[in-house]
Amino acid sequence: MIETTFWRGSVPRVRPLLGTVAAASFVVASYMALVWAPTDAVQGDVYRILYVHVPLAWLAYLAFVIVFLASIGWLWTKRPVFDAIAVASAEIGVLFTGLFLVAGSIWAKPTWGVWWTWEPRLVTTAIMFVMYVGYLLLRGLSTDFSRRATRAAVFGIVAVIDVPIVHLSVLWANSLHQLPTVLRVAGSPALDTPMLVTLMVSLGAYTLIYAYFMSARVSLELARQGRLWTRT
């Protein structure tokens, strides 16, 4: 009941404001990424795709971790809101992973000379993408609400193991992909301060976009669930 009031009352009221803030922060982040941040000494301007690629990657990880947590929530409590959060986050995660792969590919062509190479980070990311497409497929093929939510929740828990594998693949294997520059095991981020600030602003902007998408999609899913309950 509390969550219904929250998602159907408070969230729709706040959503236009959230959307405006997300759009404004996206404009600021784009300006900083394209104009304010300095040119890289080695890669030149092509490195600026980092300000799209890295936030998309982090948000994709976050989205799938949210799927995992919401899946546990559903199995534990059987509250429909958890299923709505899981499906919303999975769809956004798939979208962000797809964009993250495309952005990475566009970056790879001028720096590595190829659109795609069979190296661990790329392959594990593509596998993560396919895995969550499978998650959505599993949902799409189930008709009964409760069974669909339970099946999807189990798969959402199993699939999350791929997220750390994707992130750590560059450390475990000899990789063409560069090592982490922000979340480094030893030492501070290997980025100039203006570059780091721009990256953090971009990350904030994409997080707000994720939050906006989530609020819209969860409300939609709850409305859909409500129609299903009314029909049955």
Partner: protein, 222 residues
């Protein structure tokens, strides 16, 4: 009866059913034999003997054989309407998952033995560390079924199940397939440390997915 006893009971029941109607094991063995034969035709006899290529193709074939054997095992339950009775018993869901995993691992061991011998003989693979290879194969055989049984349970009674199970299972199986292939390659090439470290990873994945399966799969069987 303890949980382990129930798991053993379901596994024995499953293996008896497999012995009575060995269509699952026959299909899996035939499948892996055909793939071994096709391998040298498709990639050429020289490439097929490569210490990296032969194990990789073998484990991919074994992953598909696991899917085949597991789906056949659950189809048999559905055809005989046996699933409802089993699930209704106290602890039946845990036992169903555990028993299926154990039984499929036994079936898979037979399939791996036949497929492995065929690969070694037909491809004339120079095997440097046979005992290490056995360790890798045993742990690989144990690491594959938990994931596949989870995915077959999730896709139970769904339309397009035959297409859905490989889509769900194969991406999750990637770390196990990489570890098993690299471990087998290392054993063939004579790298004892490499073979054992990949075998350790296989053991870890078997434990992780076994525990996850026993914890959450009962919830998925409705």
């Amino acid at each position: 009866m303890t949980g382990l006893g129930r798991i053993g009971l379901v596994a024995v029941r499953e293996l008896r059913a497999e012995r009575r109607e060995p269509d699952g094991i026959v299909a899996a063995v035939t499948f892996i034999a055909v793939l071994v034969l096709l391998e040298s035709l498709v990639v050429g006899p020289v490439v097929a003997r490569d210490a990296d290529i032969a194990p990789a193709l073998f484990w991919i074939a074994l992953a598909f054989a696991t899917i085949l054997a597991t789906m056949r095992s659950f189809d048999r339950e559905l055809e005989d309407d046996a699933l409802e009775g089993l699930v209704a018993l106290p602890g039946g869901r845990d036992a169903l998952f555990g028993g299926k995993v154990v039984a499929i691992a036994v079936v898979l061991a037979i399939v791996a033995l036949v497929g492995g011998l065929l690969s070694l003989v037909l491809l004339d693979l120079p095997l440097a560390l046979p005992l290490h290879l056995v360790v890798v194969v045993v742990l690989g055989v144990v690491a594959l079924p938990p994931v596949v049984v989870v995915d077959v349970v999730l896709a139970l009674r769904l339309r397009a199940r035959a297409a859905l199970v490989p889509i769900l299972a194969l991406p999750v199986l990637v770390p196990q397939l990489v570890a098993a292939s690299r471990g087998a390659s290392a054993a063939i090439a004579g790298d004892a440390v490499g073979a054992l470290s990949w075998a350790g990873l296989l053991f870890a994945f078997a434990v992780v997915y076994g525990v996850i399966g026993l914890t959450i799969v009962p919830a998925a069987i409705e």
